[in-house]
Symmetry: D2
Subunit: 433 residues, 4 copies
């Protein structure tokens, strides 16, 4: 297959996926297409609960919502063979290519989920102009995960076409629910990277300029996403105010004090109460309140410190107003530093690629979070190496913006750098052994 054909495939995949964005744990049509494509290429597949420990899925939508989306997917799927496998919302896929020859196990992670954003309808917005704007109200691939999936499929295609040049085993991991850092942990807990020697996650954009490449991004903050509910007791605010147990007051007090959590001398922290919903009527003492909170720390330990303070504050605030409360962990990621040796290999591959004008061995993008770190930490804990690389691109607007768009020129170089890293890692390991 020529490079031109591959480019054409990459664009076609990406645009189709862009048209039908699906959010975390609902990537049914998406996963179904991914699975069908990889099967056709000859990969051996593991799906759903086989690659996801259901006890570690965080912030998974309710069964009712999942069932409802399944109905939609049935009507919109183009390759229904696999759809049934993802019915319950366990949409992860691990596709394995065993060369049959001795060699390292190399894994790549691609995330698949979209966002709850309504895509811009401006005529000059490229997806609109080219007719592949989201067909779905209030959903959009505004972070480039459509591109990631295309890169993953492109890499699969290059692997099959060049299978004689490779040793060892290659695993392609397609992960649900990266947004809100909800999906990775369940795949790690299902042991999908237990046997992995090298792990590479890739992201497009994130501010890295077009034709630039970062071999190891180490700035991810550990983070926890918490849904906090207070349950008090309602009462008529005029007639019997003393009979109420005020959940709004408990939540407001908690919110204020959560922001007041002490800074940490060990590194940066963040904390946010992004949403608060409380009460049921103007003249009723509020009996219910919900806070959507996130904590972040430069390290997992610092994030853990902030999270523990949140827990103490919520317990105390509930006690104040004799409320019951619930803290639900709906997302979490840790911090992790890329392995230098692996990063250097990717750095070399990038520098050698004609499209890349500038490659950086390491960078430290601040204050964002990623649950690829779970895979990385696990691989490193088992003695392997892991890194998180970024292929720069031209962005029409920032990530999570309704005018977000990438430059599709970046897709093929991404595929080729990843592919070349396999060759380099094979070579390194044949030398070593």
């Amino acid at each position: 297959m020529s490079r031109e054909n591959l480019v054409s495939n990459l664009i076609q995949w990406r645009r189709d996926l862009h048209k039908f964005p699906e959010t975390g744990f609902h990537e049914m049509r998406t996963a179904s297409i991914v699975a069908a494509t990889l099967e056709k290429l000859g990969f051996s597949l593991q799906l759903g609960k086989k690659v996801m420990d259901e006890n570690y899925c965080m912030g998974k939508p309710s069964d009712a919502e999942t069932m409802e989306h399944f109905e939609w997917a049935k009507e919109n799927d183009i390759s229904s063979k696999y759809l049934e496998c993802f019915k319950e919302g366990y949409t992860g896929i691990v596709a394995t290519w065993d060369t049959g020859r001795k060699g390292p196990t190399i894994a790549f992670r691609f995330d698949m989920d979209a966002l709850d954003i309504h895509e811009n309808e401006d005529e000059n917005h490229f997806p609109q102009k080219e007719g592949f704007r989201s067909r779905i109200l209030n959903k959009m691939h505004a972070c480039g995960h459509d591109a990631h999936i295309a890169i993953g499929l492109g890499l699969a295609m290059m692997i099959t076409q060049n299978q004689q040049k490779m040793n060892g085993t290659i695993k392609l991991i397609f992960q649900p629910a990266e947004e809100g850092v909800r999906g990775a942990k369940s795949m790690v807990k299902a042991n999908v990277v237990k046997d992995v020697d090298y792990f590479i996650a890739i992201h497009i954009g994130t501010g890295v300029p077009h034709r630039h490449f970062v071999a190891s991004n180490n700035g991810f903050f550990a983070t926890s996403k918490l849904d906090i509910t207070f349950h008090g007791e309602a009462s008529h605010a005029g007639a019997k105010p003393e009979k109420g147990r005020n959940a709004l007051l408990a939540a407001a007090t908690a919110a204020l004090n959560i922001y007041a959590i002490s800074r940490h001398s060990g590194g940066m922290t963040r904390v946010n109460v992004g949403e608060m919903l409380a009460g049921s009527g103007r003249n009723i003492i509020p009996d219910r309140a919900l806070l959507k909170v996130e904590t972040r720390g430069e390290t997992s330990k610092i994030n853990e410190y902030v999270k523990q303070q949140v827990e103490a504050i919520v317990e105390g605030a509930a006690k104040m107003y004799q409320n019951e409360y619930e803290i639900k962990l709906v997302g979490e990621a840790i911090s992790c530093t890329g392995s230098t040796e692996l990063a250097e290999i990717l750095h070399t591959c990038a520098k050698e690629h004609h499209f890349i004008e500038m490659s950086y061995l390491q960078s430290k993008d601040s204050a964002g979070s990623e649950d690829a770190t779970y895979f990385m930490k696990e691989v490193q804990r088992n003695g392997g190496q892991a890194t998180y690389c970024i292929i720069g691109t031209e962005l029409a607007a920032g990530h999570h913006n309704d005018k977000f768009d990438i430059n599709e020129e970046s897709l093929l170089p991404a595929v080729e750098i990843l592919y070349n890293s396999i060759l380099k890692l094979n070579e390194l390991n044949s030398n070593v052994n």
Copy 2:
């Protein structure tokens, strides 16, 4: 017309209205039926903006919502002649009966609006059993205003049937939007009680037992209903937290301090932040927050004190976080004490009625609010007399409960006591002059 026939009419009106509850400023079908019925009886009618000053309507739904309800009403109206008059949501009616004979002007107020409550579907719930349960999702006559309208129409009928026995002028005021104390002020400002010598508002239930009557309820608190909005600035909570101007924090701080407003040595107060909605996403510094607040005071002056504190607190909280803010008055009522002389007349009428076992000259039901007080105060200011009476009944469940229901036996006695008060007032005035 026999008493039996009147009872049958009362029940029929009440049940029909119960089936089609309409909330404040949307009483289009309701008002249309009222107007048609009164016209047929020979009353002269004033409608809509003629009896409502649009500058003093509080908490009126948006034009879009009103238009949407009008479409619904067109499909559900049984007497479309008047519907068009109420299209814009000015649904007040003043029906006048001038006897042509010298005498006092006596006004009665009946409120017409329902609540945003989903009526209970239990088989034993009387309206369900009898087939007149609300046809409308999430709307219900759960405070007895359907009964009030029926009483008003019944009184109109008795007046026309006994017109020879009466002197002076009788005005029947049908008021929109009593719930949330939003509608009365606009009718007062449109001068509908400017010429009134005696004013009587009536309510059913409110805890007064079956076959009991209260001639003057004086416990209403003055109240203000405020929608408070904070406008800050959003920013990514991880990447650029310092660029945000946090509206949630401003609102939480305001809420806490609003509850902390000092008690008043002059009398009881109440304050409630019934609802808070803030933020747009977990990882975004919240740029918007809404508080639904109400203040109450044993007197209008005390309520004014509390309201001023709320205003200062909101201004300060906004300043803290460099937010813009808006305080919108969406409802207000004053306190008022009934006129003793008029109360005594009603008290006598009640005691003389065979159905009533116990009548009270005065009572002081605490901590509720009513905008009938605006009419009362205005009439008293002009030298007239005013009172607020209550006809007891058997309640299936408390007001604003989804199982609320009255005993329909109370309807006719209410009509007759009001009718008799007209005769007594005529007599009194003929003696005087």
Copy 3:
């Protein structure tokens, strides 16, 4: 003894006591003089722990402070015989006069403590002009308790002079620490009113005009005085902020939420955080905080409700910041309503007295507190009658003001009204039996 002589005694006592004010549980010189005077008159005395249960003294100063005051008293006492009895700060006295004749037991309460106020030094301030201004820095009889003691001693003198006219038993109770409502409960718990049929407490002033009298003041709020301490952990605020457990934040959160305690539909409440002291240095995370709080309620039950909310709030706030905390009850009073029959007797005595121009059977002074209510409730519980009466006077300035002063003309009438009430009660009981 002539009325002139009695007046001269009253003034002499009052002025001497005024010169040497002593605050709660430190009334050593005061009690010593009272005891010596009453002994000389022939009363039988019970002192100190015999009339005060030490487990129920609230807000008693530390032993060290008490010892220090004792040293002062030794140097300033004029009748050192009794001083030793009050060394430990149990300064209560019950003086009993048993007529030996059958009849009711009638008790009178007089409070003895001064305030931490520095008396005004203005030349026109009457005590200054007349040379009896407080000799003690920052202490002053600014509430009239010096007058109360004088009235008590005057009453004792009239009793001895008129012993043949009386039946039954008379008890004169001299109570420490009424300010801060700290001393009465310990006397009640020591059973000093267990055998009492009639109990009368008297106060001077309180806004009642000169030559007026109130036979039963029923407006006292129940109240609790709480010292609340938070114990956290200090840490350098720049170097290790996360190691601190912030007591100032816990206390500030508690303070805010204490003010936000819900109003009560059953009656008026008050709550105040009168003082807050927290922290030990600008750059140290505060490890200590003290709140001085008081709650009040129109009834004891309502006050109890507010107090329980305070406790829940403090527990919650401490939990938030992993603080230890302590809530110390340093004063408390209940609400109580005077007995009508007894009030009527006093009312009659007052009306009959030539000095009194106006007497009121009942009044409802709002929102102050008094621990005489403990005596009253106990007497009523045992089937007796109790009331709280007020002798009006001309005030130079309000109570607790540094220019406070009374008109000494009111002293003798107070004594005589109380004395006459004994005669009336004797008469009533002889009729009855």
Copy 4:
């Protein structure tokens, strides 16, 4: 003079100063001794307001306190000639040595103030054992500034003894009130470093181990120290709570929200409300509150951001409760990075010194603050070079601890390294020119 004699002088100076600690702007005895010593050595002196702009003194004690301390100093001074010059609390000294030969102007800064700490009385505490423990109640040199002064005087002695070896001009700056970062700015504003080419500040200890040296410490946070006062209105909390304007509530709200100030993506911040004092009595609505606040930022710009948030919060909190407020800047320091070239010279001098086992070119001690940064920034702004060096020592306990003590062995090496840096800088400049 032999090294032994110099050591003996250093120890004698240090111990004498240790015995008579004086806090910021009260270093009268201290400065008087310093001036007398330097004069004797032949330095030309500038004192008091000549080297301090009174408009930029921050957190200076009141005139009354200063006068009182002057009285103390008069009784405790051993060289009263200069005492009068420091009477008003402007205790800064600049001592200049002009070699008469062309060459750079090199300045050294030594801070002189002690702390409000009561020195430990344990027998094993070295100053106690050796008889030079603080003679002054609650004051102590617990940060080593006594050592700094001794080093400065020692350096002066070495300069005079080796005057033939040096070129250019040397300025010794003795600064008041480094604690609380209050004194440096006023000296900078008085232009004392306007003509300086090289500036070196030195500190002892700070965790740097014995026999170690840091040539450039760059971790100082910018900081602002703020005294914030709220003025409300008192009222009786039971009788007229609504008449109060609650300063405690304003301050508690401000404190809570100050801690809640958003983190900054540009770098670390700190914020602390170290003390709060509010109210005047349990039953009085608090009319006064004081907050002692400090902000810090990794850069001056970030600190400025935090400070501005504090200002907005305080304004808002005051508005909430209709309080007046005042924000007083009582200390401030900026952030600054040492000049590499100058640091390298000190680094070389340290490495060459036999006593030093380890020298570091740069370190980044986190989250402390120093107002030497004002001198540094000013010198750099004028094209000069500046650095902040640290001579390690053995600490008996941490800085600001009541058992703090240094190892006096470190004194002489500090003097010699500084002296050698003069020679090196002379050499460098003679080469250059």
